[in-house]
C-alpha cells in the first residue's frame, strides 16, 4: 500500500507503553545476563519448578524440549521462554514464529511466558509488520500482545484466562 501510516518518534517507548496497557511487562536490557537477573528477582517467575526455554543462553531451563515428543507433557511447565522475531509499537505485540522452538503449544500452555526480542527489531505499525512477514515458509506464527485475559464475567477484566497468566518481553541489545 502506498499510504504513509502512523509513525512514532520513539517506537520502543510506544511499544512498552502499549504492552503495559494490555497487562504485559517490558524491559529494555543490554544483554541476556541482565534479563536473567530480572527473572531471578521476580518471585513468581523464579519460583517456577519446571522451566522450558528455547533461549538457552538466557536460561537453560530444566525441561529438554528435544526429548519430549508429546506436547501434553508440557502441561506442568511453570515458565516458558521463547524467542520473538520483532515487536510492533502501535499495539504492544510481538511476532512469534513457532519454527523457532519445539512444540507450538509451549507459550500458551505454560503458566508464565517470557519473550526475548532483539531491541532493534521494532516497527511502527501493522502495515510495516506485514512488510516484514513472508508466509512462504511459515507453518504457524502469531502476534502475541500481553498475557491472556477475559472480561466475560460482567465486563470485569481478569488477567490470565487460559493462556499465560503473565507475559514479560525482553528487548535485548
Amino acid at each position: 500500500m502506498l499510504e504513509s501510516w502512523v509513525e512514532y518518534a520513539n517506537p520502543t517507548e510506544k511499544f512498552l507503553e502499549l504492552l503495559a496497557a494490555v497487562g504485559g511487562r517490558g524491559h529494555c536490557v543490554d544483554d541476556l545476563s541482565a534479563a536473567r537477573e530480572i527473572i531471578r528477582q521476580n518471585k513468581t517467575l523464579a519460583s517456577a519448578a519446571r522451566i522450558a526455554s528455547a533461549v538457552p543462553e538466557l536460561e537453560p531451563g530444566n525441561v529438554d524440549l528435544e526429548q519430549i515428543d508429546d506436547p501434553h507433557e508440557l502441561a506442568d511447565v511453570g515458565l516458558a521462554i521463547v524467542p520473538g522475531v520483532f515487536a510492533v509499537a502501535e499495539n504492544g505485540a510481538v511476532w512469534l514464529d513457532a519454527s523457532m522452538w519445539r512444540h507450538r503449544v509451549l507459550p500458551f500452555l505454560a503458566q508464565h511466558t517470557c519473550l526475548v526480542v532483539p531491541a532493534g527489531e521494532i516497527c511502527n505499525n501493522m502495515h510495516e509488520a506485514y512488510g516484514r512477514l513472508d508466509f512462504a515458509a511459515s507453518g504457524f506464527g502469531l502476534f502475541m500482545s500481553g498475557p491472556s485475559k477475559t472480561a466475560d464475567i460482567e465486563q470485569s477484566l481478569v488477567i490470565g484466562a487460559h493462556g499465560a497468566r503473565s507475559l514479560t518481553v525482553f528487548l535485548v541489545g
Binding site: V6, A21, G92, G139, M144, G163
Partner: protein, 452 residues
C-alpha cells in the same frame, strides 16, 4: 411465532436489569470510541477495509479457488459445504474418521449458525465451548446473546450459581477472578483431554492459503495445538486477497469490538501441527444469494466485530435473545431475513433507523439503509403482519389524496385537542404506552405558510 416485539417486551419488564444491560453495552461502545480516535488514519482504514471486501466479493469464486490451491500446497485440506447440513456432515465425517469423542471449540459464529453442537451431541461427540463466555452459556444451556461478548446479559451472581452447580465452586461466589480461575482449571483439563479442536476463521488469505484466528484467552491455540486434528470452519465471505490486507483489518477489528489495539493472540495458521491434520470447511449457507443481491451484497463485508450491536439503542435495551437468531443486532437483522424471511420478518422493524450502526461499522456496511430496504422486501414477499400492511395501505391511500390528507389532518388536530387523556393513552394505543404524542398545533404548516 416469537418475534422481536414479544421477546423484547419480556426483556424490558425488568427495567432495572434492562438499564444495566444498556449501560454495559454502551460502555463497550465508548471504549471503541477512545480506541478509534487514537488512530489518526481511522477513516482511511475503514475506507480501505470496505474497498478490499467489495473487491473480494466481486471476485469471490476465483479468490476462493486461489485460496484452495495455496492451502492444499501447504498440506491443508479444503472442503466445500453448500448448506449448514453439508457443513455438519463434513465435520462429523472428519471426527468419526479420527475416532474423536471429545472436541474443544473456540468461538465460531459459523458453527452456531449451523447448529453444530447439538448435531454432534446427537452423534455421541462431546463438544466443549472453550471461550469463557461461551462456556458459561453452554453450561446454562442457552445461546450466546452477543457475537463477541456471549455472556454480556449474565450477572456475576448467576455465573457463580452455574459454576457452583457444574464446576464445584463455592456457593454464592461472585468474584470474577475466583470464578475465572475455576474455569481455567476446568477448561485446561478439557484442552489436555481433547481428541480434536474446532475453530472459526477471522480472516482467510487467498494469496497464502492460510488463515487467522483472533482470541484474548488463548483458547483457540490451546484447543488446536494439543490434539492432532484441527478443523477450521468459515463462511466464504471471510476471505481477503492478500496477507498485507490483514494489517488493515487487524487494526480495525479489536478496536471496533472492545476498544483494544489488538487481541492478545492473533494466530496465523499455514500448515498442520507436526504429525497432525488441518482441515478448512468453506461454507456458503445462503451467502451466494446475498452476494447476488445489489441491495444486500455489502452485508458480506462483515468481520463480526459486534460494534453495531454495542451502539444500537434497540439491541442495548432488548438484548441479543430478543432477536431469535445466531447473530443479533443490526447486522443480524439483515442476515437473518435473508436466510428465513418468514421467521425473521420482525427484525428489520426492530430499528429506529438512527444510523449509529452505519457510523461505527469498520467495513462501512450501509446497515440502516439495508434495514430499510429489508422492510420493503418483507412487504413485497408478503410477510408483513396484516395489521401493519393494512395500516400502510391506508396511509398510502390517504397520502395520495391531498384534499383528504388535509381534512384528516384538521380532524386529527381537533380530536387530539379535545379528547380526554384516558381515551388517547390506554392499552389499545400501543404506541402511546411509553411515548407522548406531540402537542397538536392550532394551524397546520400549510395554513401557516399560506397565511404568509
Amino acid at each position: 411465532m416469537a418475534n422481536h416485539v414479544k421477546l423484547a417486551t419480556e426483556f424490558v419488564k425488568n427495567s432495572e436489569r434492562a438499564r444495566w444491560h444498556d449501560k454495559a453495552l454502551w460502555f463497550v461502545r465508548s471504549k471503541r470510541d477512545i480506541a478509534a480516535s487514537s488512530v489518526p488514519e481511522w477513516e482511511l482504514l475503514r475506507e480501505k477495509a470496505s474497498a478490499i471486501k467489495l473487491h473480494t466479493m466481486s471476485r469471490l469464486p476465483e479468490l476462493l479457488a486461489q485460496f484452495e490451491a495455496n492451502a492444499k500446497s501447504r498440506g491443508i485440506h479444503v472442503h466445500w459445504a453448500r448448506t449448514a447440513a453439508d457443513h455438519n456432515a463434513i465435520v462429523l465425517d472428519l471426527l468419526q474418521h479420527h475416532n474423536v469423542r471429545q472436541v474443544v471449540k473456540s468461538k465460531s459464529m459459523l458453527t452456531e449458525e449451523c447448529h453444530l453442537n447439538p448435531f454432534l451431541q446427537r452423534h455421541d461427540i462431546q463438544v466443549v465451548d472453550t471461550d469463557l463466555g461461551e462456556r458459561i452459556v453452554q453450561l446454562r444451556d442457552e445461546p450466546p446473546s452477543h457475537i463477541v461478548l456471549p455472556a454480556i446479559h449474565i450477572k456475576k451472581e448467576e455465573v457463580g450459581e452455574v459454576f457452583h452447580e457444574h464446576l464445584g465452586t463455592q456457593a454464592g461466589a461472585t468474584d470474577p477472578q475466583y470464578l475465572t480461575e475455576a474455569a481455567r482449571e476446568h477448561l485446561r483439563a478439557k484442552f489436555l483431554a481433547a481428541d480434536a479442536g474446532i475453530t472459526g476463521v477471522n480472516f482467510a488469505v487467498a494469496e497464502t492459503g492460510g488463515f487467522v484466528v483472533c482470541t484474548n484467552e488463548g483458547n483457540a491455540d490451546l484447543g488446536v495445538s494439543l490434539p492432532k486434528l484441527h478443523i477450521a470452519c468459515m463462511g466464504i465471505e471471510k476471505l481477503i486477497p492478500r496477507a498485507e490486507h490483514l494489517a488493515v483489518f487487524l487494526r480495525l477489528l479489536a478496536r471496533s469490538a472492545t476498544g483494544q489495539p489488538i487481541t492478545t493472540y492473533t494466530s496465523h495458521f499455514h500448515g498442520p501441527l507436526q504429525g497432525g491434520e488441518l482441515h478448512v470447511v468453506l461454507v456458503d449457507n445462503g451467502r451466494s444469494e446475498i452476494l447476488g443481491s445489489d441491495d444486500f451484497r455489502r452485508s458480506l463485508n462483515c468481520i463480526r466485530c459486534g460494534a453495531c450491536m454495542n451502539t444500537c439503542p434497540v439491541y442495548r435495551r432488548s438484548g441479543g435473545h430478543s432477536y431469535g437468531t445466531t447473530v443479533p443486532g443490526p447486522i443480524g437483522s439483515i442476515l437473518a431475513p435473508a436466510r428465513d424471511v418468514a421467521q425473521h420478518y420482525s427484525l428489520p422493524h426492530a430499528c429506529s433507523l438512527c444510523g449509529s450502526c452505519t457510523d461505527v461499522c469498520p467495513v462501512k456496511i450501509d446497515l440502516h439503509h439495508q434495514l430499510l430496504a429489508w422492510r420493503r422486501e418483507i412487504r413485497v414477499r408478503g410477510h408483513l403482519p396484516r395489521s401493519k400492511a393494512l395500516a400502510m395501505r391506508l396511509t398510502s391511500w390517504v397520502c395520495r389524496r391531498p384534499r383528504l390528507y388535509n381534512l384528516m389532518g384538521r380532524m386529527a388536530r381537533f380530536v387530539l385537542r379535545v379528547t380526554p387523556r384516558f381515551l388517547t393513552y390506554n392499552r389499545r394505543n400501543a404506541w402511546g404506552l411509553q411515548r407522548e404524542l406531540p402537542v397538536p398545533p392550532r394551524k397546520s404548516f400549510r395554513d401557516s405558510f399560506d397565511a404568509d
